[in-house]
């Protein structure tokens, strides 16, 4: 069952990407992660357009870890688009960002985010947070469609 589940990580920062993947690897979740590096790529991936037209399988990820400050299409715009499409309307989206701004947090929830997580500065804390996120959304949380 668990092999069917996967995470879509939308992260433009290579170092954060590496740290997130390392943390997930520590809890054996790394091979269930697809990575895209900006908002446009994320939309193409999800709607099988552009470079992802004809992607294998049309499954949606179990959860999306979405940064806000993304090139091309911002994280909040991606969220907006997802919530406006019937197919992705209920897809769990976790905002994972460096920002601690109240307006970002409110805008995220307002746009329909399921969770808002700030990337901790501390290495140990960061690793623990990411690992917990992966386990929670893949193993603990029950998604809308199974």
């Amino acid at each position: 069952m668990i092999s069917n589940k996967c995470i879509l990580l939308v992260e433009d920062n290579r170092q954060d990407e590496k740290l997130i993947l390392r943390a997930l690897r520590k809890v054996n979740l790394a091979n269930q992660v697809d990575v895209v590096r900006d908002g446009q790529q994320a939309l193409d991936y999800l709607f099988q357009e552009g470079e992802f037209a004809g992607r294998e399988g049309d499954d949606l990820p179990t959860v999306i870890l979405l940064d806000i400050g993304l090139p091309r299409v911002s994280g909040l715009d991606v969220l907006k688009r997802l919530r406006s499409e019937p197919r992705t309307r209920l897809l769990p989206v976790v905002i994972l960002t460096s920002s601690d701004e109240e307006r970002d947090r409110l805008a995220s929830y307002d746009g329909g985010a399921n969770s808002f997580v700030r990337k901790p500065l501390d290495f140990a804390e960061f690793a623990v947070t990411v690992a917990r996120l992966g386990i929670y959304w893949l193993a603990v949380n029950r998604p809308p469609q199974e």
């Binding site: 920062n13 170092q15 954060d16 390392r22 460096s98 920002s99 990337k119 500065l121 501390d122």
Partner: protein, 512 residues
Amino acid sequence: MTIQTRLKIAAATSAALVFILALLLYWSQHRLASANRTKNLADEIVSSVFERKALTSGYLVDGDLQARDRWLLKQNHINDLLEKAPSHLISISDGETFNDIRKSLEGSSAIFDRISHNREAAKEGAGHQVMVNEIEDRLVGQMLVKFLDTVAHAHRLQLAANELIASTQRTAEWVSLSIIVSVSLFLIIVAWSLGRSIGQGIESLQLGSAAIGEGDLHYKIPLTGDDEFANVARAFNMMSGKLVESRAGLEQELMARRRAGLEIEQLNLELNLTVSQLQGANQELEAFAYSVSHDLRAPLRAMGSFSAALVEDFGDRLEEEARDYLDEIVIGSRHMGQLIDGLLTLSRSTRGELHSDLVDLTLMAHHIQNELAQSEPERGMQWQVDPGLITRGDARMIEVVMNNLLGNAWKYTAGTAQAKIRIYAEQDGDERYFCVADNGAGFDMAHAGKLFQPFQRLHRQDEFPGIGIGLATVQRIVHRHGGKIQGAGEPRKGAIFRFSLPHGKKSSQEES
């Protein structure tokens, strides 16, 4: 001369002339009465003399003795009239005329006596009848002469009286007429001159008030002298002078206000410019803070995290010294992260809307107390938090204040045996101050000026770690609430920080 005085003089003069006229009338009446009495007396004398003449004839021709007695009676009557005469006399010439009348009557009386005596002697037969008749004829002739004299004198008296009556009447007429004419003329002249003065005065005043009414406040009424109109004109001119002064004052004030208005407008423009510049600067600051929170944290996290990962994943292959260096990188990046977080909090404390929440500082202090106790469970601490420390303010910001002050108190009592932290409120004048006191390391008041400046620290990093931004943030938050914050300390004795939050107090008063 005032008009009132002139009117008084005119009235007095007229009254005097009328009085003189009355005196004159009285005098002329008196004179006329006297003249009439004199005339009547003269008339009576004339008629008596004629009657006596008739009696004389009766006696002489008929020898009637009764006629003789009656003659004597008439003579007495005439004498009585003459006795009274002096009281009726007016002029000396009249007196002389009376004397003449008296003398001629006395003369005729003496002649009548002689005739009578002559007749008595003739009866007794003494002398010759011819001689007696001759003497009587002569005496009768003398008597006739006396009679004519008397009548002539009396007639003269009559004429004099008539003349007096006529002249008195004439004089009275002329004097009355001239007095009436002169009084009338005088009154006409006075009325005309007064009328002219009044007319001129009223005209001048009318011109003046019309000119001032049209706004010519510099107009002066050209009246001189010392009458009422001149007084009114002087008062009027003084009034217009005052009006000119007060108008000049008003105009000056108006100008000053206009200038002040322009200055205010100018200042407003400048202020608006400054405000928009400040708004621009604020937006820049916000953008900067945002990019700090986003962009600076990522590389920092990478540095610390990869160093830690290196130690974790490859620690067994690294020498002790290499691991130590990597640890320093982790510590350094952790410290920098704290600095960035502190800066963000500081920047956030001056931005955003200020809420007015009901804040329970007692409750807040207990929460923080628990957190601190959990962070270092091995430390003993005597807490004293007064109950009922409730105020109004922005709850999130006040939590930052309490976190910082209590965190500092906790931190600086680390080396103190029997450490104590006390949280209470005190009244100072109109202000209620909340206080956080500890018996920790304290500080030297000589450096108190640096307390609230960002990145200024009064202790070495190896004594008490910190980034030097907490109290700066606290001060900004208290100032945003319109309050004051003061710190007092003594080395190795402790420190007290107290702050007020009047903004919150004011809101709570408004709401209640």
